[in-house]
Amino acid sequence: MTNPVSLKNIRAGSGGVPLTQKRESLWGDAFRRLLRNRAAVIGGSIIIILILVAVFADQIAIMHYAKQNLVANNSAPEWVLKVFSTMRPYAQVNNDYPLGADYAGRDLFSRIVYGARISLTVAFIGPIISLIIGVIYGSISGFFGGRVDNIMMRIVDILYAFPQLLFIILMLAFFRSTFAKPDPGTFTYTMSQLDSRLGGMLFIFIGIGVTAWETMARLTRGQVLATREKEFVEAARTIGSSDLRIMFRHILPNIIGPLVVAETLAIPGYISTEAFLSFIGLGVNPPTPSWGSMISDGSAVIRTYPNQAVFPALALAITMFAFNFLGDGLRDALDPRLRGTQ
């Protein structure tokens, strides 16, 4: 049975153009542009592979990351010895370890696989923390403007002027000593339990969180200021939208693009911060492997066993490149006018 109403609607369409033509939303359009960008697709694919590696680390790793085999310490397989020929006088050949073993005879490959977990966790938690704090702070500042804006932004300026890494290092040192031996049942005890449950990552998140939101707050504030003056925001006021509604339905959707791009481009920074903290020994608790701590261990023996530093460093570099490529691609896709600019 035909439906007369729908038939009428079809005829009402402009001469013969199929009405079921697929509509592209702005996001759909951006996604298509992203797929055309080869570097972004490669970056995205690498990130997806890394996520899979991190999730299925238990299946991919050939042995547990903390399993020591002191007989095989500093051993390397044949192909590694070929690549790094200077290692030959020092290393014993052991083809059980695809990338070699470290000073305690732990498999480098497995440790790199597990290390992806730390780096990727930081890569996702870091943006979430800084987005939540930064966007809320920046929106309030930009939306209300005037004196509120002035005071809030001066606070950010002050925090910004403080060297970020030094700040994180001091804070981590403080946390680690404060939460070292707390009494059971106290807040500090809960915190330190949580921290050790997360392999020492909780304080890294806090450290990244307290510094990374400042950039986001500034960016959000600027975007909100610019968007707030648009006529459609005024129109929203005329139709009686509340401040919250204007913020969330009219302003935020219009500025989310630049925020996502900035955050994606900031991810390599978070990863390298974590790696740096682990490198100087303030990162995750051993024996949890982190690329930073592996590079730190490897760098001590870089002349004799370069593979112990080079492979985790490669993993770190590839990951950071991947996020950078994806971020660049996102920026081009979301705002084609910015293509090729920095």
Partner: protein
């Protein structure tokens, strides 16, 4: 005379700037009868737009009263104003920046209804949006379209539909056609006039385009540097402009006739003086060809020269030469 739908009494909007006070809207007394159109004309920067936004309380007024059906809406609380907003809407000049590029046509038109706190079932909302789209002449297949897919005329129709969504009594049209092609201009103007006939809407039509204002208005107010220098019925103003500024403004309309070739243009000399800390007296005085010493002494009042035709000029009224 019955009570006007909207009336302003001594409405002022001053901005504080470094050099002093910028008189954007100064002492405006206007009234608009229900179902009529008041055209507000004047050159760029004369405060037309600010006047429109002040009346809608989009910018806070410095002093004065805005009476909607006799009630001063400047004294309304936030909640009362929220209710009042249903009655007063605006159509913006630029259809590109006045609609949210991240919303579909459906959401843009449904947004006023949602914001007003009215809860509608999905089906009813759907019906309402389709009805509004039909009213303003938008094909219903565009319901899921995004603004960037549409041309200026269609976007402006969305703007009109959005303004109509809450069944307002009064709409400020802030140069709604000046960024459109001439052919589209006519479409939108006719749409606005049809809607006025159908729903008894009252318009305040802000424009610098005199042919548009002639087409659509019942009454006209001429603004110069924040002041209303002349207002009255359209026919009288066009046939017999009294204020020297109105005369100059109207003489700028091109006349499509060969005989008009020899017509000498009535040009005014000089530049618009600054609206910051204006000197007392007539603000047009520095450029006026009929300027007299009395023009710059003391404030001038709007005088009713002929019935309903007011002018702020020393040439008329008691000191008539």
């Amino acid at each position: 005379m019955n009570q006007p739908l909207l009336q302003t009494v001594g409405l002022k909007k001053y901005y504080k700037v470094k050099a002093g006070e910028l008189h954007a809207v100064d002492n405006i007394n206007l009234s608009i009868q229900e179902s009529q159109t008041l055209g507000v004309v004047g050159e760029s920067g004369c405060g037309k737009t600010t006047l429109g936004r002040t009346i809608l309380r989009l910018v806070p007024a410095t002093s004065g009263q805005i009476l909607f059906r006799g009630e001063n809406i400047l004294e309304y609380s936030g909640k009362q104003m929220h209710e009042m907003r249903r009655n007063m809407q605006i159509v913006f000049q630029d259809p590109y920046s006045s609609i949210n590029p991240r919303m579909t046509v459906y959401n843009i038109i449904a947004e006023p209804i949602r914001s007003s706190g009215t809860r509608l079932e999905k089906q009813n909302m759907d019906k309402r949006v389709r009805k509004l789209m039909d009213t303003v002449g938008l094909a219903s297949r565009l319901i899921k379209a995004y603004p960037h897919e549409l041309d200026g005329g269609r976007r402006q129709r969305i703007g009109v539909a959005r303004a109509l969504a809450l069944n307002p009594k009064f709409i400020v049209c802030d140069e709604p056609v000046s960024s459109l092609d001439v052919s589209i201009q006519a479409q939108i103007l006719n749409l606005l006039m049809d809607l006025q006939d159908e729903y008894g809407l009252t318009y305040m039509f802000i424009t610098h385009d005199l042919s548009v204002v002639k087409h659509i208005s019942d009454n006209i107010a001429v603004m110069y540097l924040g002041e209303c220098v002349e207002h009255g019925p359209k026919d009288q103003i066009f046939a017999n402009p009294l204020h020297p500024y109105s005369q100059a403004l109207l003489s700028a309309i091109p006349v499509p006739s060969l005989a008009a070739r020899s017509r000498k243009p009535y040009l005014i000399k000089g530049e618009v003086s600054s609206p910051i800390n204006p000197k007392p007296g007539c603000r047009f005085a520095p450029r006026c060809p009929h300027v007299k010493p009395i023009c710059t002494q003391g404030e001038l009042e709007l005088k009713e020269v002929t019935p309903n035709h007011f002018v702020r000029c020393t040439l008329y009224g008691s000191e008539k030469p």
